[in-house]
Assembly symmetry: C3
């Protein structure tokens, strides 16, 4: 399900070197009976931000979502975004498939997505999606299966994703010289982050 | 505690055929030392919306709340709303009694209730109530024990409850002819919802 | 780490008799490489509100935070506020150290802190901090490690902390004569709160 990392890519994509996958949870789309509309929106958003985007996984609701997520986490991807299956219909199982993979939850992200979504539709509060970190490395975010819900969710991610990834990888912003690109710390995940007064200003 | 389903009811109530119960968690009200004020507000709200409303259960805080909830879930009711016992006083145990019964939580609902309540009183953020689904069928919502908190909570439910119940029972809105009443799907709870592009627009 | 209760204190402090401690989670501050800036802000806030404030514990991220928290809870303090370690960098472990000590969570408090913080910085939604009750007595609140995050968090606490503590200790506001100071109930924690119609108005 997860293709090998592409051997080459555009210079723009290479500027971040970060790899994402979109998983579409939809039994009907997986069966070819329905044209998924939210997956392309997410992929386009990622590509515009210079992510390397793996081929989309379009899978049936339930266990196949968990299998696709586990494979993406196993492959060490930086980001996995799911769309669909976050409601309460009998087939909506994306949150249940996601939770066991997370070692840290980020409730503030989904909370904010629901809050913003509620400005458009009251049904936004019904999303049960999770956001969090898997294996100390892969950011996982469950988005709803609607274009509006996806747009609201991406707007929240837009503001925090770079900071989240930098923090996750222990990048020391304050240690960067002005104008240089942040680079990943070479320290092991368990090592102490070289945090500083400057970094602490952003530290939540 | 749960009376058998009424053999007959008004035509208006029959229009939905959905059955709810209100559980009042109040040791003093159960002992007759205090006149419950929030239970009638919730019952009236439900009746106005054509719910069949079973006799209110007024029970002492703690285990009796869990017993009443379990009986309502066992009876297969569509909705159970509790009031009271969501704070942090030593006797407030409604959330603890509720959580074990839920197989799916709906955190966005209680989050939204607290957020709206905070516009009236900062103490709204102290409510620890849950909302969720029990046995894949019964919607359970913990409301505070104050009239203001109940009104804020019902305002949130007003906007999402019909949609939530339809989604829960796998009703395919898109398959309905315009102007017809939604009907329950005859599919088993585990069957795939006949979702469609139209339904997905609302799917969270 | 927890000094014995001070044998005497100012009359102002004695007016509440409530005891708090601030725990600063910062590996670099604990090593003396960094001057903690948020601890003093929290201590000053507490002192202004007539709390008895124990000596600040400045500890390395991770297990030392849990040890300091456990000692404060064991000592029966009324309030422990941590600052730092709520983000997702590899060393941020304050929520993980806090959760096992809580017997009741107060999600509405951290939710409200993130929501208010988001008005200042989108990164506020990344805080993973908890608020809750430990051993049925000690209020524990995780604040971020930034001055802005701490100020947002204290603003939320300012509105609810007195009410929360009164409710926690089963104080019956309605039973107080007008103008008298609330006093702690002498009832055991498991005893029924002498709640009343008046109290229920505030009861969440």
């Amino acid at each position: 399900m997860i293709p090998p990392r592409p051997p080459r890519h555009t210079a723009a994509a290479g500027a971040t070197g970060r790899i994402a996958q979109v998983i579409v949870a939809s039994t009907r789309a997986a069966a070819g009976e329905y044209q998924d509309r939210t997956g392309p929106v997410i992929s386009a958003w990622l590509t515009e931000r210079n992510w390397l985007v793996l081929a989309r996984a379009v899978v049936a609701d339930g266990a196949p979502v968990g299998d696709a997520l586990a494979a993406a986490v196993e492959a060490g991807l930086d980001l996995v975004i799911t769309t669909g299956g976050t409601g309460v219909s009998p087939t909506d199982q994306t949150p249940e498939q996601t939770l066991p993979l997370l070692d840290r939850q980020l409730p503030g992200i989904t909370e904010e997505m629901r809050r913003r979504g509620a400005a458009s539709t009251p049904f936004a509060v019904l999303s049960r999606g999770y956001a969090g970190i898997a294996r100390g490395r892969t950011v996982v975010v469950n988005l709803p299966g609607t274009v509006g819900g996806v747009r609201d969710g991406l707007a929240v991610l837009d503001e925090v994703l770079d900071h989240l990834l930098d923090q996750l990888h222990g990048i020391d912003h304050a240690a960067q010289r002005p104008g240089t690109q942040p680079t990943r710390s070479t320290s092991a995940p368990a090592a102490h982050s070289p945090s500083s007064a400057e970094e602490r200003r952003d530290d939540h």
